[in-house]
């Protein structure tokens, strides 16, 4: 299967938050986790564009740097936002599937 680029078809914000829900991760670990999760490739430009926005909105926070690698973790506010987003997606998915008759 050809690898696709995140951003066109995937919501990068949800993917980053979902990855961090497992625990703190630095940039490279996030990219690998998202790749394992979806099979899609996320570049550092996309990842840090999302991280900057999430950080300013208080949904993630940076931890102390370790050897030029700074881990990020989900905040309480971020966890609430992710849960709301996933629940909405779940409702939409269930409704869509039921309408498709699957």
């Amino acid at each position: 299967m050809a690898r696709s680029r995140i951003g066109r078809t995937q919501d990068a914000t949800v993917l980053v938050l979902t990855s961090l829900a497992e625990g703190p991760k630095h940039g490279y670990a996030l990219i690998k986790d998202i790749e394992a999760l979806t099979g899609d490739v996320m570049g550092p430009g996309t990842l840090y564009g999302v991280l900057v926005r999430l950080e300013e909105e208080g949904l993630v926070e940076p931890l102390a740097e370790e050897d030029r690698r700074r881990p990020y973790r989900l905040t309480g506010k971020g966890a609430v936002a992710l849960r709301e987003r996933l629940e909405t997606s779940l409702r939409v998915a269930q409704l869509g599937l039921s309408r498709l008759g699957t």
């Binding site: 940039g27 550092p44 430009g45 564009g49 900057v52 300013e56 909105e57 208080g58 030029r68 966890a79």
Partner: protein, 369 residues
């Protein structure tokens, strides 16, 4: 060692971003390169992100508060300049156009061709080039589409975009300035000096606008006479008071810029003394964010306009009716000024946004893991 393309892409980011993320992202890029990811793809993604970060502005705690307030003040001070500039631009462009387009000369109504009038696309004032002489007519003619040069179209689209983006810019700057004024009013012990200084953009605006309108009025007082040119009688037109118009124009340029700089200094001083509470300023924040994000379009529109102007060709055939934008030597100055205003506005919008974020972060209790 990361390739130079990635380091260049990282350096394209704004300073606040580089100070915070440069090492980190370089490390991640090095890891990805080690996996065999192509450097050009990583660099391209980082270039796009650099553009995004320039547009969005700095995030929490990446700039000192005094710097943020200075930016806000700059945005307010840019207001008079941005208000007057479009007027100057339109005068400089004039209502005469030049290209190889075809006009129907007779039977045309006289229309107001000011952009963004939709008729400006289909009607032009014209010059008739006849046997080497120029007959200047005050009439307009309907444009026959299809023969209009691409350069004229391009500059027309640029001018149209500039018109509407200017309106956006003005709204944003006006609201930013209103935000400063409101904050002064809200201060428990406002100083009289603050109130006076906060009106310096208004003073600059009144001065520059008044002189500009006066000059424009003088420019609208033509004197016509018949002169012989290349053996033909042609109409020669000039303005009634050329010396006065030129002196006033120069005064407006120099003193207007001086007043604008004075207003910027005044508001920067204010910005270091007045606290801006964004919870009362959601409207300026919202509008300024929008304006900040529309600013790159401004530069694109200007690019269209300038490329179109520079690409138009002079008339080649005697008797040809030609259409073009007329522009003067002022345009480089106007472009530079507008770029400056744009940058200041962008930074002002970013400052407002950041102040808002700070306030939100403080006011919303966040439970940490």
């Amino acid at each position: 060692m990361t390739p130079s393309s990635i380091r260049i892409a990282l350096r394209l980011h704004p300073r606040w971003w580089r100070e915070r993320y440069f090492d980190e992202v370089e490390m991640v890029s090095a890891d990805l390169l080690g996996e065999g990811r192509p450097a050009w793809r990583l660099a391209a993604g980082l270039c796009l992100d650099a553009l995004r970060q320039w547009v969005r502005g700095p995030i929490l705690d990446t700039m000192p508060t005094s710097g943020l307030r200075s930016q806000l003040a700059g945005a307010g001070a840019a207001l008079p300049f941005a208000l007057v500039l479009p007027l100057v631009m339109y005068t400089m462009m004039g209502q005469t156009y030049r290209s190889s387009t075809v006009l129907q000369v007779s039977g045309s109504p006289t229309l107001d061709l000011t952009w963004p009038s939709p008729d400006a696309f289909t009607f032009r004032k014209f010059e008739v080039i006849h046997h080497g002489s120029t007959f200047i007519s005050g009439r307009t003619g309907p444009l026959v589409h299809g023969s209009m040069s691409w350069a004229t179209y391009l500059s027309g689209v640029g001018a149209f975009l500039i018109s509407w983006l200017t309106v956006l810019l003005l709204i944003g700057l006006l609201v930013a300035w209103g935000c400063v004024r409101y904050s002064i009013r809200k201060t428990a012990t406002p100083r009289r000096t603050w109130r006076v200084l906060s009106w310096t953009p208004g003073i600059a605006l009144v001065f520059v606008s008044t002189i500009y309108l006066w000059v424009n009025h003088l420019d609208q007082q033509p004197v016509s006479k018949f002169v012989m040119h290349s053996g033909h009688p042609v109409v020669s037109m000039s303005i009634a008071h050329p010396t006065l118009a030129r002196v006033l124009g120069d005064v407006n340029l120099t003193l207007g810029l001086g007043l604008w700089i004075g207003a910027a200094v005044s508001l920067t001083y204010l910005a270091s003394h007045v606290e801006v509470d964004s919870r009362d300023s959601w409207l300026p924040i919202t509008i300024s964010r929008f304006v900040g994000r529309a600013m790159p379009l401004f530069l694109i529109a200007y690019g269209f306009w300038i490329v179109g102007l520079r690409s138009q060709k002079p008339p080649a055939v005697p008797g040809q009716v030609v259409v073009s934008y007329v522009h003067s030597g002022w345009w480089p100055l106007a472009i530079a000024a507008l770029l400056l205003t744009t940058v200041i506005s962008l930074r002002g919008a970013a400052a407002l946004t950041t102040i808002h974020r700070r306030s939100s972060t403080i006011s919303v209790p966040v439970s940490r893991d």
